[in-house]
Symmetry: D3
Subunit: 163 residues, 6 copies
């Protein structure tokens, strides 16, 4: 009856950043439950394995307070089908710079064409995360730069172990 109150926050989360957590925090009062869907994308190689990415998300979410329960689940295939299987019709996405915006609109429209009642809700992160991206973070991590401003603590530690 209240099906739209659950939402899906899909992504690769390689790794989760403070920007992702900020979006989750902003979304949490709007929904009764948020499922963070971590993509198992076989065609894209990731720095962290699916298990590691889920684990880092779980640890990072545990550190913080949210206004609704957060569940972390893996998914493969199309997000619209994962949504349908979980009876969810709302996707959450963060909006950042312009290039992002185009890609996000493209995805949202394609998703809507696949499953007509799928709706994407866009939220804006704090401006201090507006230019933060997982790929930049990985470059900095590789060269042992300072990541404390960008990443939750469990992810900072994971970088230290990895490099």
């Amino acid at each position: 009856m209240d099906k739209k109150r659950r939402a899906l926050y899909p992504g690769t989360f390689d790794p989760v950043t403070n920007g992702h957590l900020d979006i989750l925090k902003r979304a949490s009062p709007l929904f009764s439950e948020i499922i963070v869907a971590v993509g198992k994308n076989p065609s894209k190689s990731t720095l962290f394995s699916l298990e590691e990415r889920i684990d880092l998300l779980k640890k990072s979410v545990a550190h913080d307070k949210f206004q609704c329960p957060i569940q972390i689940l893996p998914f493969s295939g199309l997000i619209v089908e994962f949504a349908r299987d979980n009876k969810i019709t709302t996707l959450i996405r963060g909006l950042r710079a312009v290039s992002d915006f185009d890609y996000e609109l493209q995805m949202a429209l394609m998703n809507r064409k696949q499953v007509s009642d799928i709706e994407t809700v866009f939220l804006m992160p704090d401006e201090k995360y507006i230019y933060l991206s997982s790929s930049l973070v990985k470059t900095i991590g590789r060269f042992k730069g300072d990541l404390k401003n960008f990443l939750p603590e469990p992810v900072v530690e994971a970088f230290h172990k990895k490099f």
Copy 2:
């Protein structure tokens, strides 16, 4: 207790277009009530008076079905204060072309700086409304162009009476 379930959809609505109604329809399952806040902007001259804009919204909304109650109210001053007075912390905005995007982000950030728990939720209209704007519609209306694809019926009639 469930304060974030009510939302505010602010704008000038000079006049309301099918794009606005599309956003309202997409937002309606997410909230328990939406207040459409029609701006009484003394420094911007409008084609339709505040009363006319509210009246056209009421008639247009009555024609359609929404998954939550829609209320139409005038506001003057700052939207964040109107939101606070109404105990609402969620604003709804439609996202369209790029120039829009910048302006919307700017507004959302400024609003957030005024009242820290104000959150703006962005929705994307159907792609057939993605390049629709009230100002283009007014130009076409002025020259008696065909407005049926862009405007709800009560607004088409209002244009016919006006020109």
Copy 3:
């Protein structure tokens, strides 16, 4: 039978710049005739009157060589109706910076919705005109700056007379 070979190049041309002439030159081998349609926009105040703008276009076009005949005509109302009255279905527009792009797509889509067989053909000016605009040119002219790089000679003279 060959109706699409005639094209319309609409604009305000307040005043015509070297960028406009560059677009005309690039479009001229593609068409058998181009009608430059000069807008008589009552709601927008112009620096040059409609008669002056047409006169400056005629003089500027006469200075140059084009691969098809160029006709200069005034129009008022909607460009799609002017096109229909002249049995033309192709509009020409120059593409410049990003903000432009959005507006142009918006116009092109709105025009297409009014008259379904209207097609807009976009051409790119020489990169030296990619950031040139009539409004910047007017600011410079007002303060007696150097306009030779931006404007055809008859327009430079018109500025000298005016200020």
Copy 4:
């Protein structure tokens, strides 16, 4: 004598989408013949082989009606040289989202610098294709999503065979 009436529509077409066909249809009344030039790009791996891409284009074009003859040809090397060899000076390109726009302008300017009389004509697809891309379509196809809205029938079948 009428050399500019033939045009080249270059691309990778991996695979051809309804967006490409829409552009072809809109371009067809403007030209006496359009050559679709299918790139054999050795440095970019494609989902469909050159032969398959040409075959799918031929079948898709055969399904539809165009206002001028359409020829499908492979090309390798630089498009400006292929154009010169075929005595064609007009390229056709579709315009979509903003990122696209930048890339297209860049290409058009570089082509013009290589061969000074090469002109690129940009057309806008129907807004329902404005966010459609071959790469998104491939992702959906890989996961057996529904492609009927995005692809011509022969391409939908080719996806079914492939996955």
Copy 5:
């Protein structure tokens, strides 16, 4: 001999914001002196008079520390001529959102065409000012919203006196 070490920071400054001061602070170690040139634009009506705008700048600059002397001067006419008269060839501009970027490039190119050795140096404000604009600030000020995060103290006071 060291002529490029002096720079000009032109603008309307109606009123000066924390974003402007942030740019000034970032530019100050790069130059031996910066002249803030406050435009007396007769065709644009301003909220604060030229005298008020200069006064607010002087007071705001006095509150802060800069790594080079800052001078506040009025100018009318074209900035390139004001620069030439002051034997300065470097302009400073802040870069913010995308629409800004286009306009700034356009201005910089036009200025360079007027006076070939004029160079514009762009700096990026702190991300907390990236979406701040004088016009939004005026809207908020008009409705007595909270301006402390956006404006230097003397400007906040000026708003209180005005409204």
Copy 6:
């Protein structure tokens, strides 16, 4: 005491183009020395080796006149650390099309977060280089297209030897 007068111009320079040299020339009157820092990026494969890229830069810079000494150095790791090791706090970047702009802002902000007194100074190339990129140049070079307009002579020769 005058530490900010030295600047760093980082990049991959695979290969150096006329656009890069144009930026260097515009930056040279602003600084007492510019270090061009050529990235040795192990995760990105380049057409020219690090030695070749440095060699081509040295030869290209030798051909031209600059208003300050130019030094060419390799770097690996994070540019902010290379800057700190060289006691430099100013980075130079060229600004081109929009996609560029986003990426550049992102980089500049991330760099600033790593080392708080790092400042990025953006310059705009001549408009004839505004759509020039190393990757497009490589595509053209691979197919033996004409590169004289885009590249310094030593780089044109290097392409001839390579292909």
